[in-house]
């Protein structure tokens, strides 16, 4: 990959990749490291990407695999205890979504189990179709559809809870944030 290509690929995808990385890792340092590792692999193994239109998919697939590799070999990503949402939660509307900020949305996503969270973030962040998501995560299409459907439900329930709580106190992220 020549210099111009690399610069274009960094400019086009680094923000989305970082956000996806953050949604997996849950903190800014690891998200940046995951993003850097992904681009380093592009520099060293980028020759594998013959079709330039596949670069985006290759980057997201690679980042996800790097994350899975890290998770297997380290305890840097502790299991997040999932609090079951109350079945009687209020309905989540577009107006409620307008009241959110991006950190709250991300924090709510981080409370969802990773196998629901990863397809959900790719769906929202990249506008990927369920077929593209299946390719990136290397899972069957039917599984992606189920996880997306359930993931959306879980995310909205958590956001609704947060919005209800925020009426009493402001929402804050208890994670390191990018400066």
């Amino acid at each position: 990959m020549d210099d111009l290509d690399y610069e274009q690929v960094v400019a086009a995808h680094h923000e989305s990749l970082y956000r996806f990385a953050f949604s997996l890792a849950g903190n800014a340092d690891d998200a940046a490291e995951l993003t850097q590792e992904t681009y380093i692999r592009l520099l060293t193994k980028g020759g594998q990407v013959r079709d330039r239109s596949k670069v985006k998919s290759w980057l997201f697939t690679t980042l996800y695999r790097v994350f899975l590799g890290w998770r297997r070999h380290a305890t840097r990503f502790p299991h997040v205890e999932i609090v079951q949402a109350d079945a009687e939660l209020p309905h989540f509307t577009a107006q409620m979504a307008d009241e959110l900020d991006s950190e709250t949305a991300m924090d709510a996503a981080l409370q969802i189990e990773e196998h629901y969270r990863a397809p959900l973030v790719l769906f929202y962040l990249q506008g990927m179709s369920y077929k593209e998501i299946a390719e990136v995560l290397d899972v069957p299409i039917g599984t992606v559809m189920s996880r997306l459907s359930r993931g959306k439900e879980l995310l909205r329930k958590r956001l609704a809870v947060r919005l209800n709580k925020s009426e009493a106190k402001p929402i804050s992220l208890n994670r390191s944030q990018p400066s």
Partner: protein
């Protein structure tokens, strides 16, 4: 498809997606046209989704990240070169080692071309025609081979050089390119196979004669190449041509 199934499918549909390419989504969208309640639900679903997508897209990215990624290119380029150089040195060491092993290996006392190999090779000419081009003489054979990046300095015995050459070609045997030359010896058709590799037989520079079925053969090694001359002829004809 019922309404719940349609909802399940539509929940995975991106509004900017190509619904026409997806039969399931197309069917669910079609159903929506006939089901106002489903249409209302989908409109609300899309309204929420588009806002959530915007929120995720606004999540802050460290401003220095881009510069760090661009800087990584230089670091990787240097380390890649170092790694490449290490690989080259390792590869050179392996080549030298293999060279030593090759030179030190004992020359075996056996046939220039094993009998079973001769049988395989002879089957290559059962196909008719088995040549790629007709020629008027040996120089034309050499020119044709040279044009195909074949080492055409054929170290043939003088008697064989004097024969009538009819045609030549390149055939593949066990993944190798083998030159095949057709010639007439004392009015009889014979085939000459040339392998761009010496035989490891100790006495390979002297022709070894054999009979493979009804075919007489002679095999020898000279000038880094191995030759197999074969024809359904009296073996004495081959001997006189070498």
């Amino acid at each position: 498809m019922n309404r719940d199934e349609a909802k399940f499918i539509l929940r995975c549909h991106q509004t900017n997606g190509k619904a026409g390419e997806d039969a399931l989504i197309a069917e669910a969208l079609d159903m929506m046209k006939r089901d106002p309640e489903l249409a209302r639900w989908f409109a609300e679903e899309q309204a929420v989704d588009s806002r959530l997508a915007r929120k995720f897209g606004e999540f802050p990215v460290p401003p220095e990240l881009k510069a760090q990624l661009l800087a990584a290119r230089k670091v990787v380029a240097v380390s890649f070169w170092r790694r490449e150089r290490a690989w080259l040195m390792a590869a050179a060491a392996v080549v030298i080692l293999l060279g030593i092993v090759f030179l030190a290996r004992p020359r075996r006392d056996g046939p220039v071309v094993a009998r079973e190999q001769q049988e395989e090779i002879l089957r290559l000419v059962e196909r008719r025609p088995h040549i790629d081009v007709k020629v008027a003489g040996l120089p034309e054979v050499q020119t044709w081979l040279r044009e195909r990046n074949w080492p055409a300095e054929l170290a043939l015995p003088d008697a064989l050089k004097q024969q009538r050459y009819h045609g030549c070609g390149i055939v593949e045997w066990r993944g190798r390119r083998v030159a095949l030359i057709c010639l007439g010896v004392e009015g009889k058709h014979v085939d000459l196979f040339v392998f761009d590799q010496p035989s490891s037989a100790k006495t390979g520079n002297q022709p070894q004669f054999a009979q493979v079925g009804d075919t007489a053969t002679a095999a020898w090694t000279r000038g880094g190449q191995t030759y197999l001359l074969a024809g359904k002829v009296d073996p004495q004809i081959l001997k006189r041509s070498l």
